[in-house]
């Protein structure tokens, strides 16, 4: 069948089973937009800014595991996607970004709306293509989806010059691709898995440390089995939350800069660390020279370059986290008897002492709304079943600390790049994927303003996202660091002249609710969640002085945490 390049692009999306694409038209993309107009299988979501399109595709991908798809025009259409592409790259999210390009004969000519797309995106994509020949278009599209979704997932850019979308070629969408230069390994080496088990069953002070790779590799179910059989203390990174239920007795909560006392102390004092789909990021390890000094480490990761990158690893296992954990389960029962439960029991006794510190307890207040309480109430109102996206800052940490996640792919945030503005568009992508589920965007007064224009998109497509704006009139995390490390010089972290978020939401056709009094909080939240079909923007005026605790300052080790100020005083008294 002979088709134009533009029709080929759309047919490829149909044949790939793509439900939604997120995009914004423009000159070089017009042939493709015309082809979209002529069909109704692939639904196009018209965004208000291309950055929003990438975060929506990203949210969709994180919630479903399928690649999110973006379509933009050349030049500024492309440059506006770069933040979103880099966000997806840092968190290994499968995404295919179709970028229109000026016609081939104008490339390199500084043509109108021309930018070197493959050049500008190269450092933040898994791979990118410039399609020079319409006969290679379908094959390139297939490769793009294959590369984006297989191995360690990531964003792939396909740059298509306008003339290529006008030319005609025979359409054939390949069912499989075989690339000699790209063959990701998903199954773990059986001997390495045995070696890992050798180390685990001999451990005296073990800890299981899991990350986003477990979520991406759909490894939550086997992980729960492995952890429950081992009976070892387990912690998760920000990106891995939900893989183990928050209330699992083996779960110590999140680790890292704002992780729990028990999780970080267990990491620091462990003798065997079982890292699964986690990459020893600096926000997790703290100062590397002080990191887990006695630990012998087993690490599972699909990306060999993530293994041993920051910390030496004794037993590397390359493979998909889900598959490797399944393989491990086949051998595990036979080895469980070797674990010395008395010794591990002593370790647990120590871990429980750290737990008893209750490092997430916070000071309640009668006059002002305390942000941690808002997140706790959200969890109660939604039975812990909602999809929660967040932006970046204090509210992100509170969401991670106080909304107990019980399922993977429910907690969606920009962990690696830390992109403010991610939350709202990500929530929209999730809502499209799961129209009947509750989707909350926990944000702050600074972050929410970075992709606020997408409120208009929400109206157009009737996306009933619930935005909870923890409004402290500051860039809270910046303010916190300035308080701690810059002698309270609050340089440009105060959000003077905030908009009236209620009126603003109303002007976009949504419902706005403001709440300032702690006594009104529950009612406001209940009212918001009772409006199932409406986007509700709840502007929660919170106590601006509240800081995120516990905290490991830069350059410090896991055993040098700061607790809440009153807890620190208590501990000091105990020690004295």
């Amino acid at each position: 069948m002979q088709l134009t390049g533009a029709d080929i692009v759309v047919r490829c999306l149909q044949d790939e089973g793509i439900e939604y694409i997120f995009g914004y038209p423009g000159g070089a993309a017009l042939h493709i937009y015309d082809a979209l107009y002529k069909q109704d299988k692939v639904k196009h979501i018209l965004v208000r800014h291309e950055q929003g399109a990438t975060h929506m595709a990203d949210g969709y991908a994180r919630a479903t595991g399928k690649a999110g798809v973006v379509l933009v025009t050349s030049g500024p259409g492309v440059t506006n996607t770069v933040t979103g592409i880099a966000t997806a790259y840092m968190d290994s999210v499968p995404m295919v970004v179709l970028t229109a390009q000026v016609p081939s004969h104008l490339i390199g000519d500084d043509a109108f709306q021309e930018v070197d797309t493959v050049g500008i995106t190269r450092p933040c994509v898994k791979h990118n293509f410039l399609v020079g020949d319409v006969n290679k278009l379908a094959e390139t599209m297939k490769k793009a989806f294959y590369i984006a979704e297989s191995g360690r997932p990531g964003p792939v850019v396909v740059d298509i010059p306008k003339d290529v979308t006008a030319k005609v070629a025979e359409y054939h969408y390949p069912e499989v691709v075989d690339m000699r230069s790209y063959q990701p390994r998903t199954r773990g080496h059986i001997k390495q898995i045995s070696r890992g088990l050798d180390l685990l069953v001999q451990a005296k002070r073990p800890v299981v440390y899991t990350g986003g790779g477990v979520v991406l590799g759909d490894g939550s179910a086997p992980l729960r089995k492995v952890v429950s059989k081992l009976g070892f203390p387990s912690t998760s990174t920000l990106m891995g939350l939900g893989a183990i239920p928050h209330d699992d007795p083996n779960f110590l909560g999140m680790l890292g800069m704002h992780g729990t006392y028990e999780a970080n102390m267990a990491m620091h004092q462990c003798d065997v660390m079982f890292a699964i789909g986690a990459r020893f990021d600096d926000r997790v390890t703290g100062e590397l020279s002080k990191f887990a000094p006695d630990a012998r480490i087993i690490q599972i990761d699909i990306d060999p370059s993530s293994i041993g990158k920051n910390v030496p690893v004794e037993v590397p296992i390359v493979g998909d986290c889900g598959q490797v954990l399944e393989q491990m389960l086949e051998q595990l029962d036979a080895r469980l008897g070797e674990i010395d439960r008395t010794v591990v029991g002593e370790w647990w006794a120590q871990v429980d002492k750290w737990r008893a510190v209750k490092s997430l307890d916070y000071q309640p207040s009668k006059d002002k709304i305390v942000p941690q309480l808002v997140v706790e109430r959200l969890m109660q109102i939604t039975d812990g079943e909602a999809f929660v996206s967040s932006d970046v800052g204090q509210h992100q940490m509170w969401a991670a600390q106080y909304y107990g996640f019980s399922k993977p792919r429910r907690w969606i945030n920009s962990g690696g790049l830390g992109t403010m503005g991610f939350g709202l568009p990500a929530a929209m992508g999730i809502q499209l994927a799961y129209p009947d589920d509750t989707v909350i965007c926990i944000s702050g007064d600074a972050s929410i303003q970075m992709c606020l224009q997408e409120l208009s998109t929400c109206l157009q497509y009737e996306l009933p996202v619930k935005i909870i704006n923890l409004n402290n009139q500051y860039m809270g995390m910046v303010r916190q660091w300035q308080e701690f490390f810059y002698d309270r010089r609050y340089s440009h972290s105060y959000m003077d002249a905030l908009p009236d978020f209620v009126k603003l939401s109303e002007s976009y056709g949504h419902v706005g609710i403001r709440v300032e009094d702690p006594a009104d909080l529950d009612e406001a939240l209940n009212r918001a969640f009772s409006m199932k079909d409406r986007l509700v923007f709840v502007d929660v005026i919170t106590d601006p002085t509240v800081n995120v605790y516990p905290m490991i300052a830069a350059g410090k080790g896991h055993n040098e945490m700061h607790l809440q100020p009153d807890q620190e005083e208590h501990q000091e008294r105990e020690l004295a």
Partner: protein
Amino acid sequence: MRRIISLLLENESGALSRVAGLFSARGYNIESLTVAPTEDPTLSRMTIVTRGSDSIIEQITKQLNKLVDVVKLIDLTEGQHIERELMLVKVVAHGNDEREEVKRLVDIFRGRIIDVTDSTYTLEMTGNGDKVDAFILALGQVEIIEVVRSGISGIGRGKRALKV
């Protein structure tokens, strides 16, 4: 430590910039880089000379392997190998004494004079990096007009080969 990494990559536009971009983005050292198509025109062969601790070299090889265009690579310095670099040097050569002296040096180093004018010689020299360096030192008083070095190309000894 100095390492020579040899790789086969898809002969596609942009493949070189992916490799070069990786080194600059991650702050790896690059001493020389050469690339050209192989007997199979769909494949290019690249030789990179770099320096770093064992852990950095391990990361470099892993990161290179991760590039979708890279088909295969080996660290030549892990085994027996041969390395060669081509250098072209243009020197001032006035008068018989000077011209004789340059010619003698070139013979000792088993190079060649490939272009002659009444005031210059252009010399060709092939060898490993050390030999080429030594030749420049040996030129001593001879005035060098320009030096062009190809960067190192390397190959494994005996049966050791980098092949698809």
